[in-house]
Symmetry: C2
Subunit: 262 residues, 2 copies
């Protein structure tokens, strides 16, 4: 009897952790990856028949997958004309970064005072993964792991809906950053990224929410500035204006950003 349970239990556990992968879920993961890796770029048309052949799946589950990605903010539907990868303009960048920042702040306010040991351990594990990726010199993976780290930080709050919203915005943020990734990593260096996240974790361990908030705000604005620098390249006047606003707002609230005109 004891043997039987030891045989069946892993099966049950596996099923709970990884439910039998439906084609729709696999398709969603595959297309999401194609978008985040830049294989599909913002504005690109997504033709259902092409993807069905490419992924070896029929259209109904693929369409379900597209609806999911649409809700995640990665695709937009144009009735009778199919879906395209969401085009990102300056205002979108503004929206994504401000809302993400706000959610992160809320998570810290909720999660840091509690400092649940297992959730903190998740953060530490995420940092280790980030370091491993840096050691391997894999820029793309470093970006992925950095996002995972932030997700773990948000996870401190034990707030499922908050985490889910944050995850969705992170995906869109990666979409923004996709094209500029090489330039960004080259500019900062992999270990620069690691160092900044190490500092965040150290602050977390100390458990002072205010300190964490300041650090995260700095970190977020750093990333934001980098992103703006790329998004606005060639429009230096606008870039200047934005950076000036950021400088002003840094001493203010994290929300002290005004929406761009465009």
């Amino acid at each position: 009897m004891a043997e039987r349970t030891t045989v069946t239990m892993p099966d049950e556990a596996a099923r709970r952790i990884a439910p039998p992968p439906s084609m729709a879920r696999l398709a969603a993961d595959a297309v999401r990856k194609m978008i985040l890796t830049g294989e599909l770029q913002p504005g690109d048309r997504v033709v259902e028949n092409q993807l069905t052949h490419q992924l070896g799946v029929s259209r109904p589950p693929l369409r379900e997958a597209l609806r999911v990605l649409e809700q995640e903010g990665l695709l937009v539907q144009q009735p009778r004309r199919g879906v395209i990868v969401v085009p990102i303009n300056l205002h979108d960048v503004y929206e994504i970064f401000t809302l993400r920042d706000q959610l992160e702040r809320m998570a810290v306010e909720l999660g840091v005072p509690v400092r649940s040991p297992d959730r903190l351990e998740r953060c530490r594990a995420a940092l280790r993964d980030l370091e491993d990726a840096a050691r391997a010199g894999d820029a793309a993976t470093v970006t992925d792991r950095a996002f995972d780290f932030h997700l773990a930080v948000v996870g401190l709050a034990g707030h499922r809906r908050l985490e889910e919203s944050y995850r969705s915005l992170s995906l869109q943020m990666r979409l923004c950053m996709g094209m500029n990734q090489r330039a960004r990593v080259a500019g900062e260096g992999l270990w620069g990224i690691v160092e900044r996240h190490r500092a965040i974790l150290a602050t977390l361990e100390r458990g002072n929410p205010q300190e964490v908030l300041e650090m995260l705000t700095d970190h977020g604005q750093h990333t934001f500035v980098l992103e703006l620098g790329h998004s606005l390249s060639g429009r230096s006047a606008e870039a200047e204006a934005w950076l000036e606003r950021l400088g002003r707002s840094r001493s203010d609230t994290a929300l002290g950003l005004e929406a761009p005109r465009s």
Copy 2:
């Protein structure tokens, strides 16, 4: 020529506002309504074949609709077992109310200082609709319009993603409140609801974000307390503890709520 444009333009405009109603979209709207009106209650199984017959639509578009509602947080999928209406426990109520409150605060901080005239007008129109519903004595519509009003307030920020997240949470909130609606309305009275929203609009017009924030926090906690009162009915000890925490946090930050144990 001028005639042609005047003929086609309304068509185009209408299409932008109400895209050609695909069966999937209609199905999503119909099922959403069934959930919010309580025809489908939390925990209820949603059987695809039943709905296809009920709605006169075939399964593929219905399944697409279910994926959308799933992303909206109204349904949860149980692999190989279909979907159920999301069950709401105490922790869910906590999550929904805290996150919604935070988003609303962010919207006010962004939107009130600007006070875009057309967006303010949208708020006024929403309040008028609310008053009309109260005049008609229609409790369900009053609830709907109250939510619309809050959505209009959030719309002040001109932040699409913020508004979308807020909308999703409002749906879930309505799911929480669905069952207790009669009791709540009876307890407060339709015009009590109207009066509180009138006060919010008046504050908005004055344009002081801090004032609006205080008012909204009070309003949100009022609703929260009502909801808790119903959710916790029969468990007065827990209810007492929660209310005490609320009392303490009111003078603190709007986020001064700790997660419930369950």
